[in-house]
Amino acid sequence: MAKQAEPKLAASPADLEQYYREMLLIRHFEEKCNFAYRQGKAGGYLHVYIGMEPLCVAWLNAIRKGYDYVITAYRDHGHALILGSDPVSVMAEIMGRSGGLSRGKGGSMHLYDLKHQLYGGWGIVGGHTALGGGLALAAKYRGEDRVTLCYLGDGAANAGVFFETLNMCGLWDLPIIFIIENNEFAMGTRLEYHAADPELWKRGVPFGMKSERIDGMDVLSMKAEADRIVDYVRREQKPAFVEVMTYRFAGHGSADNDRQLYRTKEEEAHAMLRDPIKLLEQYMRDHQIMTDEKMEAIEEDIIKEVDHIYEQADASPLPGAEEVYQNVYSDMEPERGH
């Protein structure tokens, strides 16, 4: 929560502007990633966070950035940007360049930034949740008060290893928050076709976790919830489980060209009525925090910034062929290929 906010405001004007800028940054950065993909400058699988921006902005501003641990799945660009990773390095990684966070060896799905305690960036649905448990175990082992944020999608909430992880985190009282990004679809399979009980928040209950469902489109209400839950986990040294109701406006990935296979245009249009950026704009308008002109100017700024990020990333050279053998091991090269 804002420190000196007026009683009626959910956040100080400065914080509101910051959240606005950050959500716009994710939105336009992701649009630029799609552009890069269409240009053939990004390949593989590319999953964007459009519509889900508040999940990064609210939670990552509720933790101690660079101290608390963050781990997520493959829809990970926003996490890196909001944690403070160099956006040019993020874009360069997505474009497979030597200036990327992992020098082009990770790609869009595998963003890591040790400096900002971002532990990926993972492509096996549900697989990373156990690593998240391990991060929390490490914090507890060392007697630190770090909190781990472990994001996962609604599809991952069915994975066996996730239940194993919940059990161990509950059993050992680990300081971790599982954030279910429930965007209603496991790729192209709707929640009601993949989950025996679509109220995913209940899945934390059997493991003794504080479990709840919150709105994911209103960044301000989610920020308040995130502050409360992060504080609880840090203070009580217990896990928490949060189902965040969101919606991805884009397809599952860049290769998802026909969203109407699994959802109607009417449904999309309905969901977009609660576009999180529009909601925040409306809030700032209603509370006379910012004029429409100022908002437009900020968005222009962000668009220019993202253009600049893209140009700089595009100027980064491709890695040299000799790098293929580097970083397989920390102290040796693998057997050379034939």
């Binding site: 781990i71 990327g100 990770g106 890591y112 697989g127 949740t129 156990a130 175990l137 290893v161 102290d331």
Partner: protein
């Protein structure tokens, strides 16, 4: 060098104690390793000695055990995971192969995974089809992992210390038939053996037997039998499958001109096939005969002892192979 005579089992236990004492970042995690004292008693007494923080009993959920250990290792801790048997590591293949092994690479070197996964691998005594796997060849296929399979207490100490101090994920396989084997073990608490260095277990000039783990002992027994026929056998103890010390293997073959690779894993597609292939590729001009393989039968492991023994390579199988050369 001062040495004690210890069993393979006690050597591993003693090595774990030394490393737990040396480095606060080292901890043990696995099923029934604490209160129950370990299924094969390798961790006997350690829970009482170090407590639940450093000797962590887990639920029977191998993927999460390895995943938690990997996550903790990414922050710099050095977990030593016990697989109750390496056969159970099959459940955790996704965490081992698709997570732990790739992290250093996918992060562009930003993060390392100093984790050891150790436990009994291979057939014990009538544990039948689901508990008798030799997994080391599967893991030695994976870039990013290091794989060791020591045959003696001394090698177990030196390689386990090296594994715990290593910054990459290491698979450390202990054939259950070795736990009772005794040998001299250096007392030096910093005694380590580098990875990728094979050992000549017995010198000879007529044929090279190339093996690791318990099969080294089978080869040594075969060598004794063959000596009676005047065949002087050299036994190469590979010790470390990945990285593989091809130079020691090749020098032996260049001396003897004949090679038999012996491994307990299924014969087809096992790691012995990789060794045989490399020897054939790189020592072709030195060979007087094709490289032969003695491996486990290509069947699930049967329960009844008489059939189980059919499946596991023995001294007679090795002698027969050498006599074919």
């Amino acid at each position: 060098m001062a040495a004690n005579t210890l069993t393979y089992r006690d050597t591993i236990r003693q090595t774990l104690i030394e490393e737990l004492d040396r480095d606060e970042n080292v901890f043990l995690i696995g099923e029934d390793i604490g209160r129950y004292q370990g299924t094969f008693r390798v961790t006997a007494g350690l829970f009482d000695r170090y407590g639940a923080r450093r000797v962590v009993d887990t639920p029977i959920t191998e993927p999460a055990i390895v995943g938690f250990a990997t996550g903790a290792a990414m922050t710099g801790l050095r977990p030593v995971v016990e697989m109750m048997t390496m056969s159970f590591s099959i459940l955790a293949l996704d965490q081992i192969i698709n997570h732990a092994a790739k992290i250093h690479y996918m992060t562009g070197g930003q993060m390392s995974v100093p984790i050891v996964i150790r436990g009994p691998g291979g057939a014990a005594n009538q544990l039948s089809a689901q508990h008798s796997h030799s997994m080391e060849g599967w893991y030695a296929h994976v870039p990013g992992l290091k794989v060791v399979a020591p045959s003696t207490p001394e090698c177990a100490k030196g390689l386990l210390k090296r594994a715990i101090r290593d910054n990459d994920p290491v698979i450390f396989t202990e054939n259950p038939g070795l736990y009772g084997v005794k040998g001299d073990v250096p007392e030096d608490p910093d005694f380590t053996i580098p990875f990728g260095v094979a050992r000549i277990a017995k010198e000879g000039k007529d044929v090279s037997l190339i093996a690791y783990s318990r099969m080294v002992h089978v080869c040594l027994a075969a060598a004794e039998a063959l000596a009676k026929d005047g065949i002087d056998v050299e036994v190469v103890d590979v010790r470390c499958l990945l990285p593989l010390d091809t130079e020691t293997i090749y020098s032996s073959v260049r001396k003897t001109h004949r090679a038999v690779v012996v491994y307990e894993d299924w014969r087809s597609g096992g790691f012995g096939a990789e060794i045989a292939s490399r020897v054939s590729e790189d020592c072709f001009d030195d060979l007087d005969a094709p490289v032969l393989r003695v491996g486990g039968l290509n069947t699930p492991m049967p329960y009844t002892r008489v059939l189980e023994l059919e499946c596991i390579p023995n001294e007679r199988d090795v002698v027969a192979a050498v006599q074919k050369l």
